[in-house]
């Protein structure tokens, strides 16, 4: 048995039959089935996606330090590489940590994509070919053919508006995780990626059945939602808004420190002088597997915990009492 046959037997056939079976519970509507299946599959993949996103974010958070290292050791490649590895090690960041989850998920995405194409059966030959993937479940035989009409679209035909939606949603998803970097070369590469990928997919969506475009659109929407909640905001999509949020957090933090100092009458110069950038940096280094900084302190994602309240003296609340 060749690898194609194994792939069909273990992954593609079950996926196709599940697609058809699910549609029976969704009014035999293929549009609803695509949406539901994308949500289910992406939901099941969420733990992996979360790990991947966090690893990516952790890598991005180190970019300012990497840029500094490049500036410092730009000419000495070996030294630069050593310093970068040291930085990764000390930050608890695995530089290829985001690749594993991505690679594990890829076969599932591809199988889902192939299943949708096959069930769409855009021509008689495809429909005939579909029969070789079907189980002898009565539900599979009664559900076919699926209703390809969804909203304003025939899912077997391309749709201009869907192509625009695919491009726009992909741009948002890409933009959210585009790293902010001061390196002009990296910045231009990131910008190119942010524009090229959505353009390419929008172009593809124009040529392919809108059922496939619907799958891409749903994937993008789910990705956006996952990124929003996993990374805690819109990321690079609204940098101003994120900056405001951070400033607000800093302000709160500084107020708390001032209050604490007022209570104790002491100034914790090192803590009070921590800038917003440093706070964000500290916050973002840690997320991967409880990594430690070189100072040996364990940081968490919450900026509240990055600075401890002075232990000496009583808190304001206890003093009021």
């Amino acid at each position: 048995m060749d690898i194609g046959a194994i792939w069909d037997l273990i992954i593609l056939r079950p996926m196709i039959n599940v697609v058809i079976g699910m549609s029976d519970f969704l009014f035999s509507n293929f549009g609803l089935t695509i949406i539901a299946l994308t949500i289910v599959v992406r939901g099941l993949m969420y733990p992996l996606t979360r790990r991947q996103l966090r690893a990516t974010k952790a890598m991005q958070s180190l970019q300012p330090k990497i840029a500094e290292l490049q500036k410092k050791h730009g000419k000495d490649r070996q030294k630069l590489a050593q310093e970068q590895m040291r930085l990764y090690r000390e930050s608890g960041v695995n530089p290829i940590g985001c690749l594993g989850p991505m690679l594990i998920q890829m076969p599932i995405w591809i199988a889902l994509y192939q299943a949708i194409i096959r069930v769409l059966a855009v021509n008689p030959e495809s429909f005939l070919n579909l029969s070789r993937y079907l189980y002898d479940w009565p539900i599979v035989y009664s559900a076919l053919p699926l209703n390809n009409q969804f909203l304003w679209m025939n899912l077997a035909n391309s749709d201009f508006f869907m192509a625009i939606l695919v491009g726009a949603s992909m741009w948002v998803a890409q933009k959210m995780i585009t790293p902010v970097t001061s390196d002009p070369k990296q910045r231009s590469q990131s910008q190119m990626m942010t524009v090229m990928m959505p353009l390419m997919f929008a172009f593809l969506a124009l040529s392919f059945p809108s059922g496939l475009a619907l799958y891409w659109l749903m994937t993008n929407i789910i990705t956006i939602i996952m990124q929003y909640f996993t990374l805690g905001g819109w990321g690079s999509l609204f940098p101003g808004r994120e900056k405001k949020k951070e400033d607000k957090r800093d302000k709160k933090l500084k107020t708390r420190i001032s209050e604490a100092e007022a209570v104790t009458g002491e100034t914790s110069a090192t803590e009070a002088d921590i800038t917003s950038e440093q706070l964000v940096e500290l916050k973002e280094i840690e997320p991967v597997e409880g990594g430690q900084t070189d100072a040996g302190k364990v940081y968490t994602t919450s900026p509240r915990r990055t600075i401890r309240r002075p232990k000496r003296g009583k808190s304001r609340r206890s003093k009021r009492r």
């Binding site: 290829i96 008689p124 005939l128 070789r132 035989y141 076919l144 997919f201 593809l204």
Partner: protein
């Protein structure tokens, strides 16, 4: 290693692009199978006619295989990414039919063409302008009229001589089936899982309501002695009263899930011979059924799915499998005899004309002429895509 780590972001981006391109290219070449059509062969006046996978209608001498004429059918591409050229050939699925001096062909471009059998010149096109929904099923001919169903679910009756519309009737689902006519009634199955009986003069439905199965019907019904036999994707074969549409019997015990249960679709149409029905299934078996009560006489294992409709000759039923094996089943003892393997896949219906069986294979495209008595290959003609 260190260098690769440095440019990891780029690599992830690159990987994403590669995956996207792979999916896109996979879609480009794998958005379902490539469309080529599966026209069967028809014969008249010493010539054979069929639609090639290149979108041409070809006329050949039935004895020598010499090409007489070839008429290409092309349509402008709807554009897209550039996977398709500006002009694409029209897939032809239904077997052409001959009536008098005209050959009739229905294309996936949603047009019916009447062509002069001698010259290949076009006589008329329906509709005159624009296109209907695509045609996958073939045409039925009866006393100067043509009948065909489109994937838009509409049945059309046309004047064979002029191509004028006589009537049209909208059904509830796509039509891929070729209709059959018995007396003044047209029978046709649809994707809405129903079999319709229609008055060919008025275009009105004859039964109180269409007969409903649990799966789409794309096979051509067989009518004999007032009984309609039809197979469905629901894996059943039905015998119905042709006048009322009432069920007489149903094969088989699907719910019992026994070893005689059909496992896949009945794509091919049933064939009747001497009170026995032969129905090929996509599960690689031919179900041989007694027309009296729908009981199973025997099963014939062929080893590969069958989507091509078999033909019955004097005492044999010829069946071709998708992977190019051809058999005849001796109707005396229902034993299958395997003939030399054909080159290419067979999805087109077989046809029998004047003691010869014609087979049109796709992929390695060929037309075969077999002796209906012995199964011996009389002619094999490779079809070039000129």
């Amino acid at each position: 290693m260190l260098k690769s780590v440095r440019s990891l972001g780029d690599k992830i981006a690159l990987l994403s692009i590669v995956v996207a391109v792979m999916m896109a290219v996979g879609g480009c070449v794998g958005l379902g199978s490539q469309q080529a059509g599966w026209s069967g062969v028809t014969a008249a006046d010493g010539n054979i006619y069929f639609g090639s996978t290149g979108g041409d209608v070809i006329a050949m001498d039935a004895e020598s295989g010499a090409e007489i004429w070839r008429k290409p059918f092309e349509v402008s591409s709807s554009g897209g990414l550039g996977c398709a050229p500006a002009e694409v050939s029209v897939p032809l699925y239904g077997t052409p039919v001959v009536l008098g001096e005209l050959l009739y062909v229905a294309g996936f471009d949603g047009k019916v063409y009447a062509i002069n059998t001698a010259s290949g010149a076009e006589r008329w096109i329906y509709p005159r302008q624009g296109n209907l929904h695509s045609f996958v099923g073939g045409l039925a001919v009866n006393e100067g009229s043509l009948y065909i169903g489109s994937i838009g679910g509409v049945i059309y009756a046309l004047e064979a001589e002029t191509g004028d519309l006589i009537w049209q009737l909208e059904t509830g689902g796509q039509i891929w089936a070729t209709p059959t006519i018995d007396g003044d009634t047209l029978f046709i199955g649809t994707f809405d899982k129903k079999l319709y009986a229609i008055d060919i003069n008025s275009g009105s439905e004859k039964w109180q309501q269409p007969f409903e199965t649990q799966g789409p019907i794309i096979s051509t019904p067989v009518v004999n002695n007032g009984i309609v036999y039809i197979s469905s994707f629901d894996r059943h074969i039905y015998a119905l009263n042709a006048t009322s549409g009432e069920l007489i019997w149903k094969f088989t015990d699907i719910e019992g899930n026994g070893e005689n249960t059909p496992q896949k679709w009945f794509w091919a149409s049933p064939v009747l011979y001497a009170n026995v029905i032969y129905v090929a299934n996509m599960d690689s078996r031919v179900y041989v059924i007694d027309v009296e009560d729908g009981s199973l006489i025997t099963l014939v294992e062929l080893g590969s799915p069958v989507s091509s409709t078999p033909v019955a000759t004097s005492d044999k039923v010829f069946v071709a499998t998708e992977d190019g094996n051809i058999f005849y089943i001796n109707t005396e003892n229902n034993l299958a005899m395997e003939l030399p393997i054909l080159s290419g896949k067979v999805t087109a219906s077989l046809s029998v004309v004047e003691a010869a069986v014609y087979v049109h294979t796709i992929e390695d495209e060929m037309v075969y002429k077999l002796d209906a008595e012995t199964g011996v290959t009389l002619l094999e003609v490779p079809i070039s895509d000129e």
